[in-house]
Amino acid sequence: MKAKTISKVVIALSLALLLALLANSLRPASGEVVVIEATPSNIPSKVAVLEVILAELTKEQASDIALSIFGVRGEAQKIRGGWMIVEGSKEVRLYRTGGVEFFDNYKMSKGCLTPQKLPATDECVRIAKELLKKLEAHGLVPKGLEMTFAELANDTIVFAFKNGTRKTFLNNIHVNFALSYNGIPIWGPGAKARVYIGEGGEVVGFIGRFWEVRSAGEVSILRPEEAVQKLKELGYGRSVPREMVSKVIVKSIELVYYAPPPDVEPTQLVPFYVVKGVLVGKDGRIFDFAQAVPAIRS
């Protein structure tokens, strides 16, 4: 009888321990509560991996494009992944991956100590769309990707003097367009379609990372909740004391294709999740976080 009672107690204790261990394994190591506010509902279990199609331009074609679109006259020379044409402080780069770049280096990086006459936002969008039309007419806008207007942004320069004076100027306004494939956004350094507009509405820079892609077959991907679980293992990418974090609120989980810069000539673009949200500290402070998590199921 006594032995039976002891064995029952041992079994009960073992079960309790097992349950405790199981519960613990489901909880983040730091003990913070994770709230997923927005889980995308339409994430497929499989998505295509995108094969990058390279396009070869001749030296003459590259020079012609630089002149007719950006007004840069010069002999094209080979650079990593494509061609470059230079005139004065201006340069045009055309990549085999489909990337197009133009910079007036002096106007892009110098900034000035007097306010620039920059156009109104509507006018900036109009100028940007006009440039895209020109590119499209030359067959430089990708057929495999969708492109939509995204936002206006700017680069800022600030001068400060020991006497306390501080002067802030906009260096340029830029118009950003978003790229996507079958509704899945392209994300990362190679996901930029941006027109930089400077003094008097002049186009002083352009980045068009115009991938020509096609499906190279489908792969299984993680569910969004699994991506959040993976994020807990990776960390939130913020140097906020973890024991001070009481709550993690995941505001968005987005399935994207990661795209590198065009000169590295990747063979494929692969899916990632970009998870964004806030960390709520025990002292009430709130910190934003954003992390990219590989989406392919291993």
């Binding site: 730091s30 800022t156 020991k162 350094p189 913020r238 004391p241 001070m244 590198p260």
Partner: protein, 291 residues
């Protein structure tokens, strides 16, 4: 090549011995003045393992970033002075003698320094505690930094938010107190993603630090034009090639209104103009851009 723990212990031992023998000298550290006889010395520190300090998560790619920078400069003939990672990366290496730091042996004893790890607007962070005055532990707080009084011209602090100017205070943090001959600080105004430049995930990647050097050292000659990139332009291009659009890169530099010189307009020595050291600048300039 990395210094190992023994090397660092040796330095410590040597310093203790020197302190004992020459205590009066060390109570008021003698700074050698601007040492620009050799403009080609580089040192890097990076942290991936934070040991859970203050709950900071580990990072994955800072070693590849910083060492890519270090090795690529080494390939073009720069003197590689130090490469300290994880537990060998110490906050004291960046701190001024007035707070018992020894930047004159490390960060301020090279021309180009690079840190990659965690950051906040006030500080950049380490995974081990090596702070000789016991304040602002595990980090280099801006009040502990004075750079350029010996050697340092340029430093990259590749960490989130260090050059954030949301409250219009970047000059009072990393500007006036810190610039003592330094030409420019390069970093980020917002968060940055801990990732390399992926070429083919997960097998093939490129170091953004190496790409930064590639920009600084590339010369395009298309007769009659020559295109070369200043250090600032190289950093801007690197961040655009490396980070997505929700990240903003930033730079802070000395500014001379009489000549319109900005510290970030320097070229890597041997590739173009390098401005003078300005020990007590009366004007500074800050730029932030969308990556």
């Amino acid at each position: 090549m990395k210094f190992d723990t023994i090397n660092k212990a040796k330095v410590l031992l040597l310093l203790c011995l020197t302190t004992f023998l020459a205590l009066p000298l060390f109570t008021s550290p003698a700074i050698a003045g601007n040492d620009d006889s050799d403009l080609n010395e580089v040192g890097v520190e990076w942290v991936e393992n934070y040991h859970g300090v203050y709950g900071m998560n580990n990072l994955t790619w800072t070693s590849e970033e910083a060492e890519g920078f270090y090795n690529r400069l080494g390939e073009i003939g720069w003197t590689k002075k130090f490469d300290f990672g994880d537990d060998l990366a110490w906050e004291a290496d960046f701190e001024k003698p007035a707070v018992n730091g020894w930047d004159y042996l490390y960060a301020d004893n090279v021309d180009f320094a690079y840190f990659a790890g965690h950051g906040t607007p006030d500080a950049f962070w380490f995974g081990t505690k090596h702070d000789w005055d016991g304040t602002y532990l595990y980090c280099v707080h801006y009040s502990e930094a004075e750079w350029g009084d010996q050697d340092l011209e340029w430093i990259v602090i590749s960490a989130c938010n260090v050059l954030n100017d949301e409250y219009s205070d970047v000059f009072s943090r990393w500007g006036w107190p810190v610039f003592k001959g330094l030409h420019a600080i390069f970093g980020f105004a917002t968060i940055r993603y801990d990732q390399p430049i992926w070429i083919l995930y997960p097998f093939w990647w490129e170091s953004p630090g190496a790409r930064f050097v590639d920009y600084m050292t590339t010369v395009y000659i298309t007769d009659p034009f020559v295109i070369m990139y200043s250090i600032g332009e190289s950093w801007r291009r690197t961040t655009i090639d490396w980070q997505p659009s929700d990240v903003y890169g930033a730079a802070l530099a000395v500014y001379d209104p009489s000549t319109d010189y900005r510290g970030w307009d320097d070229y890597l020595p041997g590739y173009g103009y390098v401005g003078p050291d300005i020990d007590n600048p009366t004007s500074l300039v800050y730029m932030r851009w969308q990556c």
